[in-house]
Symmetry: D2
Subunit: 345 residues, 4 copies
């Protein structure tokens, strides 16, 4: 491949380091030329490992470096909007991990900026679009072989959260993936939403709601029920079923060896056929991350982005705000967005 | 078995005839001594087949026949309440198919009458309590091994409805089984409910809503989502998953042979591993019906009913009314019942 | 049902008592009028429980009792042949648990006797013919929708054996069910067989081979591989897959609730989706036993047996002998039977 | 990555072109610098596509090119041995698609040559070692948690074969993957084998046997049954189950979306839960191919090969020859290999 996209990464935490390795070692047509981080030493360490340039904590300087053609933003959530805007100021390609911003107003600013430039430059890191299971579900739904989609039943269960996690984050940091993927599977937009408080797990006495149920209705009338567990469940378990007029289609569980046995502990444990469940979210979508970056680099080389857009980041944000606002009301609240710009259609 | 319970059946339609055969041929300790039906000829025909007495359309006479010790009511829904009350007037055992009555007030009358008699005499035909799958789910939930139950996700899909079916019947005749079984699985009562209109199937243009989604919340805060399809789907498909604090438990699909093949039509159809889905609801719970009657007769011989009670029939009725009232409101409505009499605790 | 078949049971051990209860309580058109057992007290106890006649250890007397119309033989294996012959001497119906006899010569004698009488009077207790899974497999194979059957892969795993169990019993008492069911599924007869010694389980140091593999080839060229485990495995697990020209068909696992969880022991055990496996063989085919007796009684009332015949009992015996003879030879041995009498075709 | 392994490819057919793309675009630390093919134009075309050197049909010249550090052999089977020997003459790294040679003698020559050089230089393309399912099975077996492995049941079904396919190729080109993977899973060597002719599919009247069954016994006594279908079945279907002392472990089916529906054709087709089966073998192990090359390049950079060796290619060849020799004998034939050189232990 002749052209190599030169990338700078902002944020050298776990995911930033992993994306750095991914781009350098496995993504064809792209490499990382510079890294930066709020903590200068983190950038220095990553840079040293791959023999590339460290900007230390001078993230703004790195964005302006003429050698940097594209910026990957994996810094902490509250900084995303600012770095996206600065990258757009340079009219460079920008790959931003979700969420695009902390609120709808900030997303709108990004959308307006892309309108002024007249070209999509931002892709949001909704990697599930690149998961083979979701992609096949979308293909089947779009083919019409099962008739129109009517209902989605999803769940997002995981095992633990970092310090500072709040009830609202169950929507904006966890269910945000479902907020995005349901629109994408249905090719539809949200009409109204309702976040329902349900019986709480006694395992999870940390000051935030767990579990929560999020109900969404779309413009075309589809009904969506998303169960969200953020802590102390049995594993990392992502389920999604779309009920259509003539049948249903279901996300498969990850590829896993099946055992039939009676495990050690012989006397108390009953024999079973069993299939392991993951506990770590990073494994579950590892292949999707790989494909996501390969496709992003391909589309950058082709000069036209095809992955999740600023609009997608914006809608997830608006729907999330409405869900959080509906909590405790026992009612559906409207999801009101600006007109969708031509560029994102 | 020494004692044989002598039963009279009201209603000789499809299910009445099947129960008659079941009791005579397969239920130990019980037999049918007389039948009656609104259409006298139907009763005569069934009676002739088994060499038993026909009361023609004199159902009231049959109830009073001193030889009849117990009455099984399988007549059309609007007649249930009246026949139950007449059976209770004789202080005889009464097995009534669901629904117990057409409204909450009528159920309350039955409950009051049982209170006066001072003994449970009525069992309602909620046969899912006797399905091996639901029974095992209840055992697991009650054992506490998965922690407290938090959420139920269920669906009830079937293929067609008779003439005169209305939107409201999707609740009172179809989802009524879920209204009953969810309370039973959770050992809990409903707090409020909401019936949600969702995107409609274009296959199903018959003047009633299809599908519908029913949301229920319990006193203990459990959240229940029941999808109901009443027509033109792919088959008869009953699903139920209970999400607990430490895991989930799921109703199995019926026992079915698995094929791996490419069916006739070879060129257009892709090869698949496949497991058949039923289209006829009668097959699905056939074994539960058998067990239900055996257990009912056993409990009658023991002098103390243990199956679904008048209270269970009443609560299903009250919840169904609230669901129907909530349609179109986008809100949860309270489910308000009388105090639960000691007898049913 | 007007006619009631009056049955005498020889053998009041676990299975004899269970069949007694089954016939009295659940099989329509039949009842037990007398019982006998090598241990007189066992017969007396069972008789007392149901208020029927005990012949004590006078089994021969019971067979001759004019009131006894049919004899069910559930005594120990070596006595089967003698009781069948004595029942045939009375020209009464005879239901004999497997095996029909201890060797081929004895089976031939039974077959010759039935020929003389000119009518099938004996049914062998191969209850798997009445299992819904096997029955559906047979229906699919016979329909031809998957093309001709070519290969069967089966396994029979169980947990423990009584005292005195020998390597040969792995064929004649355990795999005998597969010897029967494979012929039935394929509608074919055995050509040659080979019993292969394989790596032995170190859990199972009791003096008999475990596991063993039995290979059979049929007249039509089908190949059959049956794995037999008789002790110390994880559970009672019966598997069967028939490979046909255009696809395969597989016996389903028993109906079982599916859990997704991390069980107690939390830290060391990985979360899994799991489905329980049985440990007790009696549960697995309980429904088949019920159906088997109902069908047997029906066919007796109709005057013509349709279930597994003396011929079926004979062929299983001949094939079993050849398998045992082949052990250690690394060769296929011929299975040579007499001509199949018209009566069994 | 600093070091880039410079590879020359012999053979620019389907798989050669795919490996070329794989190495250039997705394998870090390696690139293709030259290609050659028996048909010069094929080499020229591939070379032009990637802007690399074409040796036309001068494969020998390409092997000697000092810039070429490693040779990937994807030419037709009969040429493998010669190109491996020529690559070893240069003491260069060699990646050879299966089979390593056409007979055991030729494999031995390769093994002797590696002994003289004193270092493993050859890796054979048994890519299943890199399949996540097989790798997890091996991990579980090796962990001992299920006890010792006792029996393997495998099948290899595919849809069609190219012209010139013979019965023997069912062993040497198809089952060769199972011949390799079973040894690897069990960490054991073959003792004797038997190829059994079974009932033939009438769909497959092309002059070669289909299906065939291959039986193998190992030094440790494990028994292996491999069903091989090479044509006209329903799809590409790879199954493998290892029966251990305390349980079994089973290769999962590929990740696939599950539908519950009644497909078009509505009236004749029964509704089903279904999971698609592949028809193209290239899809099934696509990820394994990617991982295989990444790991090979990694191990070359580390200076010590870890993947399938000449010995592995040799044993598969010897076992395949014995299987073919046993056809029609109804007997197990010994598998006799030379002593295993230290280098491969
Ligand atoms: Mg790269
Ligand atoms: Mg009865
Ligand atoms: Mg009976
Ligand atoms: Mg490369």
């Amino acid at each position: 491949m002749d052209k190599v996209l030169k990338i700078g990464i902002i944020g050298c935490g776990a995911i930033g380091k992993d994306h750095c390795r991914r781009i350098i070692e496995t993504v064809p047509g792209a490499t990382v030329v510079a890294v930066s981080d709020y903590v200068a030493a983190a950038a220095d360490e990553t840079a040293a490992k791959y023999g590339i340039k460290s900007y230390g904590n001078d993230c703004d300087g790195m964005i302006k470096d003429p050698e940097v053609e594209a910026v990957v933003i994996t810094s902490i959530d509250p900084t995303h909007h600012d770095y996206v805007m600065k990258t757009l100021a340079e009219e460079k390609w920008c790959f931003c991990e979700k969420p695009l911003s902390q609120n709808a107003k900030d997303c709108e600013e990004i959308i307006r900026r892309e309108q002024e430039i007249g070209k999509r430059l931002v892709q949001v890191g909704f990697m599930r679009h690149y998961d083979r299971g979701y992609a096949e579900m979308k293909r089947i739904i779009a083919s019409g072989e099962l008739g129109k989609p009517l209902i989605i039943k999803a769940c997002h269960r995981n095992v633990s959260q970092g310090p500072g996690f709040k009830t609202e984050n169950g929507v904006t940091n966890v269910a945000i993936h479902e907020l995005d993927i349901c629109r994408w599977l249905l090719d539809d937009e949200y009409e109204d939403v309702q976040c329902v408080k349900v019986r709480q797990s006694s395992n999870s006495d940390k000051g935030y709601d767990n579990p929560q149920v999020m109900l969404m209705r779309t413009k075309k009338g589809c009904f969506i029920d998303v169960e969200v567990q953020v802590a102390d469940g049995y594993g990392y378990d992502i389920q999604c079923e779309v009920v259509c007029e003539n049948g249903t289609v279901k996300l498969p569980d990850p590829y896993a060896v099946v055992c039939r046995s009676r495990p050690a502990g012989w006397d108390s444990v009953k024999p079973a056929e069993s299939m392991p469940i993951m506990t770590d979210w990073k494994e579950r979508f590892i292949e999707a991350y790989d494909i996501e970056f390969c496709k992003w680099v391909e589309s950058v080389h082709a000069g036209k982005l095809t992955g999740p857009s600023s609009w997608d980041g914006y809608v997830a944000c608006v729907a999330g705000d409405a869900l959080n606002a509906s909590r405790g009301t026992s009612q559906f609240l409207k999801v009101e967005t600006m007109e969708k710009p031509e560029m994102y259609k």
